[in-house]
Assembly symmetry: C2
Homo-oligomer: 148 residues x 2
DNA sequence: TAATTTTTGTCAGTATGCTGTCATCATCTT
DNA sequence: AAGATGATGACAGCATACTGACAAAAATTA
């Protein structure tokens, strides 16, 4: 049983499991979007923007996704060229524009949700809400610790 | 409160949070190993091998880390050249060799543990073992679902 | 306000990871 | 045993991500 291990080993096990789950989730997303021509770098950006409430800047997306701002900047630049995203003036910051979904981007997101919603529901079908909630809380707690 | 959201949104939130935590954990590991000349591609391989009980093949490491076997193969080939790893005959498979830490690799791992252990202990200091355990169980459950 | 620090955009260079492909060997099925 | 299926190693091409560096703008502090 995992609970018989010392806490340290338990945690390191969790860390490796997060790496693995990360890879599997990307595979899942890629499988869901393969007929839409979206790479994981792109649907992650779309999802991050769609789930945000107040709009996101490029460095903001990078923070949410745990990536470098340069990597995100490169992707969003290309996605603006491909008309999936638009840059909008940011009332709170003159240089750092807000990134929004274009109409085409919104279409892509709704297409994504058509497969993502059933996937999410099926995946969590046999998992109690409380378990998801406590796990999310722990993950957020760890994020807070590591986020400078 | 997160628990007032529908389960689907809770889960999608967890997914994005796993992406973010994944990035932050890599940053943490890189910070710990920066004076040892290890990249995250390398310390992940070292950790995966060190935590395995029966030895791992290249595709086995890839499965544990949630990556492609080609990516791992490339890294392990270089790490064997750099004398951090050794390939050993696999009694259970003629072509697929076992990957082990060399003496130098073991030194690197013990150096890694000198910083990793205090880090793990400090990180989980204010987190009950039960929470870690339930979170690990949930993550493993998700991994099982997605791992073909 | 002035000085300092932080954030952001941008570019260059490099490392890592993925897909697709093919041949080879292992394992399973019949 | 023979054939079918699956796993593995190897290679090529490409996408993605990181670091470091620099300048400009913003935010913070004195």
């Amino acid at each position: 049983m995992a609970s018989h291990y010392p806490k340290r080993v338990l945690f390191l096990d969790l860390v490796l499991s997060v790496f693995r789950l990360n890879g599997l989730l990307i595979s899942e997303g890629d499988a869901m979007t393969q007929n839409m021509g979206l790479t994981h770098a792109r649907w992650k950006v779309i999802a991050a923007i769609a789930l945000s409430t107040n709009g996101l800047t490029v460095p903001g997306i990078a923070r949410v996704l745990g990536q470098s701002r340069q990597a995100v900047q490169r992707i969003t630049d290309v996605m603006v060229q491909d008309a999936l995203l638009v840059y909008l003036p940011n009332p709170r910051h003159k240089r750092s524009v807000l990134v929004r979904l274009s109409d085409e981007g919104k279409v892509a997101y709704s297409q994504l949700r058509e497969v993502q919603d059933p996937w999410a529901i099926a995946t969590t079908d046999d998992i109690p809400t409380e378990e998801l909630d406590t796990a999310l809380r722990l993950v957020r707690r760890l994020i807070q610790k590591f986020d400078r």
